[in-house]
Symmetry: C2
Subunit: 389 residues, 2 copies
């Protein structure tokens, strides 16, 4: 494999920051759950901190649906701070001075890893819908390839929220020997009917946009931005709790009075429109289709005879910490409880923290001191057990 | 006014069924809350049963967002049974043998009442977005004109669920002297930020459809069906509870295995697609914009100094019954409680029934024996007080 694109530099913090695109040779085939194969896999990633001599301090952070590898450094398109800069950085629970932190763009994504916007080596054209459908397990398999290529045989921890939490669970099911600890935040062991329904609305919004062109928009110079924006708006509602929306916006108006028309009268309308418009600048519509599909297909118990505990039967030695938020209606606390029950039934070491907040699913990304301190406590304790200083 | 279109016939039940389109003369102007005026108002309506000699047995049923006047008779487009045939009919709580039941299409609607698909008398062309924005109060004002034209000075009751319930509350606020009883089911005294957010997603889906053409699609022969279908799909999720969706569909597949593509794999996807596709056959996209806007603008307290009880200060003599459903997350029980508190504060006669069900908002339309029997009890008691036999 080649790491010709890997750049190493110093972040403002002084901690080593690295990353680039890991290009695997054509013969290092990624076999997908569907039976399809990906040749010439590329995985875009970032690293923070340095691998210690024991190679025992590596932490993999798994990102959510619309996340990417830029966990603690500015987004190259938007210039905004890293999506988890409240948790990753000097003095924070995931401190690059202590850990070698890896975050990679999932396959199917649009920030450099192989996905529907990549060139299909078989045709020389952009994949579009010719890209095979992927699953959470496929994302994890690509991460295993990356982590091994970076010289790490066993992670100190895999950490993730939302879809990232699902990847963590999949790691625990498929590669428990490669994990010392696992942190799963605001996730679920399978997508519910309502979860699937919201994603289907988003996909239909994209596919209804004539600029989508059956997925073959890459060469047209036009992208299905309107459809993707509507998909984002619908999804965004599910990320916030009703009380948080009410507290943040209520029925506050944009201007002094009603427009008596269809402009954004209410601040919540303007906010949603902004969310939609900003999203299309940084995300690819086909990637949105593929990643939502992967989420909908996710059902960890299904591959284990329908018994979730069976998925964790080899993960007894992994130290788990599961977090949920009381006001998360996308993946409600009850889903985390199901994970915890299964982990306990499998005999795994399990901590569970339900955090009282009205911020909804997105509490994960927001300033949430209880989450930060509980995660710090869990990681510190695990690090001690692992002999990390 | 002319009632040339009114047809009288006998339904299978033997009860008189009537209705048609009430055309008001051009000089009978409907003044809207926005300040705009509608000339040549038309109101499409249905009646069941006969007005008694005292004219004391009239019941107005107010329909919900996508409802219409066909409350207990087959829909002319779909051929499906009336939308509330579980509540209106022989032996049911709203029995045409006892009551003169009126149901009219709201203004802004698309089943015959004046709305964006009507001809603008000023231009001779279809209104489209030239139709003025309407409110719940405007819908009620048109209903008052209809009811009076039918010879009814005072209703025995106004009854409605969801947006229909909001119209009932508006009747109580604006025309309490014209009401003996009022039934408000699964409604809210104002639209919340989350309610507005979902509607905005729907509107953006419609307006993103190039076939919408700024609202001027009437003469093109093509309608924004894809956008409207997406709007319906998003809204439909809010009508069902998460447990109901899970019970009804769970992760059940359409076929034996996954398609590994973007066809409808899960039954819930297929169900939603069907809901979207069926909706566009019977509903107009511009009407959807106008009626959702009316709902978003609804805030009954706002016109009364922000104090909801003030809205009901003249409705002390009206007998109210308020119903809510425990699993309704569109207009949660707490919203009904706010209505009940305000009614009590205003000194109105108020009953409140919270119905334990997992069917969500749509429990209103579904087989829900507790609702049926409680409504029967309330109406029977009120009818006795009104001297109806």
């Amino acid at each position: 494999m080649s790491d010709g694109d890997i750049v190493q530099d110093r972040a403002a913090s002084g901690a080593a920051e690295g990353g680039g695109i890991m290009r695997f040779p054509a013969e290092a085939v990624l076999r997908l759950e569907s039976g399809a194969r990906v040749h010439g896999l590329e995985v875009a990633y970032k690293t923070y901190g340095q691998l210690n001599a024991d190679k025992s301090n590596a932490v993999l952070i798994c990102h959510a649906l619309t996340g990417d590898q830029h966990v603690a450094s500015p987004h190259p398109t938007t210039g905004k701070p890293g999506w988890w800069d409240k948790m990753v950085g000097p003095g924070l629970p995931l401190d690059p001075a202590r850990y070698f932190i890896i975050c990679s763009n999932v396959i199917g994504g649009c920030m450099g890893s192989t996905g529907p916007a990549s060139t299909n080596p078989a045709t020389g054209k952009t994949y579009g819908l010719a890209f095979p459908v992927i699953t959470i397990a496929d994302m994890v398999r690509a991460q295993v390839m990356l982590v091994e290529a970076l010289g790490v045989e066993r992670l100190f921890a895999a950490v993730g929220g939302s879809m990232g939490g699902m990847q963590v669970l999949q790691w625990a099911a498929d590669y428990p020997e490669k994990l010392f600890a696992a942190v799963c935040i605001a996730a679920a062991p399978r997508h519910s009917a309502q979860n699937i329904a919201f994603h289907e609305v988003g996909r239909q919004a994209i596919m209804a946009d004539p600029d989508w062109r059956g997925g073959d928009y890459a060469e047209t110079g036009v992208r299905p931005e309107k459809g993707l924006a509507v998909a984002r708006m619908a999804a965004h509602i599910t990320y916030l709790s009703e009380p948080a929306l009410q507290r943040k916006f209520g029925r506050e108006l944009q201007r002094d009075g009603l427009s008596w028309g269809f402009d954004a009268d209410f601040q919540v309308e303007s906010y949603l429109r902004h969310q939609g418009a900003a999203f299309v600048d940084r995300f690819d519509a086909n990637s949105y289709l593929y990643i939502t599909r992967a989420l909908d297909y996710f059902d960890l118990a299904a591959a284990h005879g329908g018994v979730l505990a069976q998925a964790f039967r080899r993960a007894r030695e992994v130290r788990f910490c599961v977090f949920s938020f009381t006001s998360d209606w996308l993946y409600p606390t009850e889903e985390s409880r199901a994970i915890v029950r299964a982990l306990n039934a499998a005999g795994a070491r399990t901590s569970f923290v339900e955090i009282e907040t009205d911020k909804g699913h997105d509490a994960f990304f927001l300033e949430e001191p209880v989450l930060r301190e509980a995660l710090r406590g869990f990681l510190d304790s695990a690090a001690q057990a692992r002999g990390l200083t």
